[in-house]
C-alpha cells in the first residue's frame, strides 16, 4: 500500500524529520507558531520543538532575512517562511546582496545554509500584491538555488534536500498545489537539484509547466488525448540549476515545445529554456511557444483574473494549434470531467 499525503503534509513531514534529526534546524517567520500554522505546514511544530526553534517574527522581512543569514553563518539551518512570495520583494537586499554572495565574496570562508519558503497565491481575489510569482528575479542571480516542486513526493524530498544543502535555497510552493495528494514515503529522502521530472510520457508535444502550471499541463494532456495528441509533461522541479537536458531530449523526440510559466514571461524561465535550447542548436524544425501570466498586475475580479492565468484549456488549444494549425476547429471539451490529478508514484 502506498502512503498518500497531501502537499502540505509532505512539507510538514520534511520539516519534522529534519528538525528531529538535526537540532540546528530552526523555523522562523510571521505566523509559523500561530493557530493556522502556515496553512498547516508548521502547525504544532512549536509544541514539539519549543519556541526557540519555532518562532514568530516581527513584520520585518528584510531584517528577519538578515537574522536568518546571521544564524546560518553561526551554524544554524533556518527555514524562513513567507506566506506570500510578494513579501520577498522586501527581502531582496539580504537575499541577493548578502545570502547569494557571501560565500563567493569571502573567498569560500563562509557558507549560508538556509531555506526560504515562499508561497504563491492565486484566485479568490488575491490581486496585484498577493499573487506574484517572481522566481525569474531569483533565477537571474548566481548563488541561489531554487526548487519549485509540484508533487507531494517532490515537496518532501526537495525540502529535505534544501534544508541539508549548505547554500541558500528558495523553496517555492503554490497554494493550489496544497490540494495535491500523492505517494510520499515515510522515510526521509532527498530529491536532487538540477533534475527535471517527466510526469507523463508522450510523443507529440512537450509541455514544460512550472510549479502549479504543470498541473494545468497534466489536465491539458487529458483534453488532448481526446483528439489523439500525446503530450509529454515535464516538471523542471529545480529552477536553479535548471536541467535543460531532460527538456532537450524530450523536444528532440516531439519536435514541439510549449513552456508554461507560472509567472510573467518577459525574462522568465520560459525565455531561458528557449534560449538554452536554441544555443544547443536544436533541429530547425522544432516549434516553440511560451505561455504565462498576462503582462499586467493580477486583477482581483474573477471576470478578468480567469484570463490572467493560462489554464488547461488554453494550453490544450495552443498545443492543438501548434500541431494542426488552421486545419480544423477544435475546442477542448468543456464537459469532459478532468479527473483530479493525483500523483501515484513511486518516482
Amino acid at each position: 500500500m502506498q502512503r498518500i499525503l497531501s502537499y502540505p503534509e509532505a512539507i510538514k513531514e520534511a520539516i519534522v524529520q529534519e528538525m528531529t534529526q538535526n537540532p540546528s534546524v530552526i523555523v522562523l517567520g510571521q505566523g509559523v507558531d500561530d493557530p493556522k500554522g502556515i496553512l498547516g505546514t508548521t502547525k504544532g511544530l512549536v509544541d514539539k520543538f519549543g519556541s526557540e526553534r519555532v518562532f514568530d517574527t516581527p513584520l520585518a522581512e528584510d531584517g528577519m532575512t538578515g537574522v536568518a543569514i546571521g544564524a546560518a553563518l553561526a551554524g544554524l539551518r533556518p527555514i524562513h517562511v513567507h506566506i506570500r512570495m510578494d513579501f520577498l520583494l522586501l527581502a531582496m537586499n539580504q537575499l541577493i546582496n548578502m545570502a547569494a554572495k557571501m560565500r563567493y565574496m569571502f573567498g569560500g570562508e563562509v557558507f549560508v545554509p538556509m531555506v526560504v519558503r515562499a508561497i504563491i497565491g492565486k484566485s479568490w481575489g488575491q490581486g496585484a500584491q498577493h499573487s506574484q510569482s517572481i522566481y525569474p528575479l531569483f533565477m537571474n542571480i548566481p548563488g541561489l538555488k531554487i526548487f519549485a516542486p509540484s508533487t507531494p513526493y517532490d515537496a518532501k524530498g526537495c525540502l529535505i534536500q534544501g534544508i541539508r544543502d549548505n547554500n541558500p535555497v528558495l523553496f517555492i510552493e503554490h497554494r493550489l498545489l496544497y490540494y495535491q495528494r500523492g505517494h510520499v514515503p515515510t522515510e526521509s529522502y532527498t530529491v536532487p537539484f538540477g533534475k527535471a521530472r517527466i510526469l507523463a510520457k508522450g510523443k507529440d508535444i512537450t509541455l514544460v509547466g512550472i510549479s502549479q502550471m504543470v498541473i494545468e499541463c497534466l489536465r491539458a494532456r487529458q483534453y488532448l488525448k481526446e483528439i489523439h495528441i500525446d503530450a509529454e509533461i515535464i516538471d523542471p522541479v529545480s529552477l536553479s540549476p535548471l536541467d535543460i537536458n531532460t527538456i532537450l531530449d524530450s523536444v528532440l523526440k516531439t519536435k514541439r515545445l510549449m513552456v508554461i510559466d507560472n509567472a510573467w514571461m518577459t525574462c522568465g524561465a520560459g525565455a531561458e529554456i528557449v534560449a538554452q535550447l536554441i544555443e544547443r542548436n536544436i533541429p530547425r524544425d522544432v516549434v516553440i511557444k511560451r505561455m504565462g501570466f498576462a503582462s499586467v498586475p493580477c486583477p482581483t475580479t474573477p471576470a478578468l483574473e480567469q484570463h490572467f492565468y493560462p489554464d488547461a484549456k488554453e494550453i490544450a488549444l495552443n498545443a492543438y494549434q501548434m500541431l494542426f494549425s488552421g486545419k480544423r476547429a477544435w475546442q477542448p471539451d468543456t464537459e469532459l470531467q478532468i479527473e483530479e490529478i493525483e500523483f501515484k508514484g513511486p518516482f
Binding site: P35, L59, G125, A128, Q129, P299, T300, T301, L304, H307
Partner: protein, 320 residues
Amino acid sequence: MDEQIHILAEKFYKSLYRIRRVEEEIARIYPTDKIKSPVHLSIGQEAISVGVCEALRPNDTVFGTYRGHATYLAKGGNLEKMIAELYGKSTGCSKGKGGSMHLIDVAKGVMGTSAIVGTTIPLSVGYSYALKYRNSNAIVVCFIGEGAVDEGAFHESVNFAALKRLPVLFVCENNRYAIHSHHLSRSHSDNIYERVQTYGMQAERIDDGDIFKIYEFTSNYIKRIMLGNITPVFLECITYRWKEHVGPNDDFHLGYRTKGEAEYWIQNDQLKKLKSLLDTDISSNIESAVDLEIKNAFEFAEESHFPEVKELYTNLFKDE
C-alpha cells in the same frame, strides 16, 4: 448636553453607524461568494477613522491599509463604488481590479489602500512633501496598524517626516494583533508613541478609543497647521478588532486571544455610546437613511456588470 457635543455626536453617529452597518452587511453577504476578494473588517475600530476624518477638510488626503473600509467611508469615499469593487464589478472604485484591499476615491482624498503592510507610510510622507512644497495648508493622514510599526519603512518614513517637518498625521490603530501575533511578541516594549517622540515630533496615545478625544487631537493639529506651524504628529490609538483577521467571523475559538480581552472594548463600543447621546428620533432617522443607502449600494453592485475581457489589458500605463 452641550450643543457643540450634540452636533458632533450626530455627525459621528451617522458616519460610524454607516460604516458598522456596511461591514455587517458585508459579513452577511460574504458567505454567498458574491464578494470576490478577502475582506478585513474594521468592526470595533471604526471610531478612529471617524474621529480623525470628521476633523479633516475636503482637501486633506488619507492613505489606508487593506483594513480600509472604515477609512475610505469616513473620508467620504463613494459607497456604491466600494461595494461594486468588492463585487468585482466594472463600476467599482478600482474598476473591479483592486477589490477590498485596494480602495480609492481620488475626488474625496482617499488616495488608496494597500495589501502590503507599511507601504503607504512613505507614500503618505511623500504626498505631504508635495503639499508643503506647494504651500498648501492641507495635510495627509496615514492610517496604519501597529504591525506596520515593525517594518523598516515605518522608521524611514517617520524619520524623513520629522526631518522635513511635513504636514502628516500618522494614526496607528494599535489593536494589539497582527493577524494572530500579539504586539508584545513582536516588540519588547509597549511604547510606540514614545519611540516616535525621539524622532522629533509630538506623539501621543489615546487608550480608551474615545472618539471625541481622537477628534479633538486631529482638530488641534489642523488648527496648528493653519497657523503655519507645520510639523508631523503621531497618534497611537489603542483599539480592538472584534472579528477575525480576515473574513466575517469571530475567532475567539482559535485561542490566540480571549473573549475576556475583548469585553472592555465591546462594552466601550463608541457606536453605543454615541447613540446614547442622541434623541431616539434623531438616531432612528439616521439609521433608516443609512440603511436605505446601503441597500441601494448593494443593489447597485448586484446590477452592475463584470468588466469585459479587454479590460484585462487596460490601465497598465497612463497615456497608452
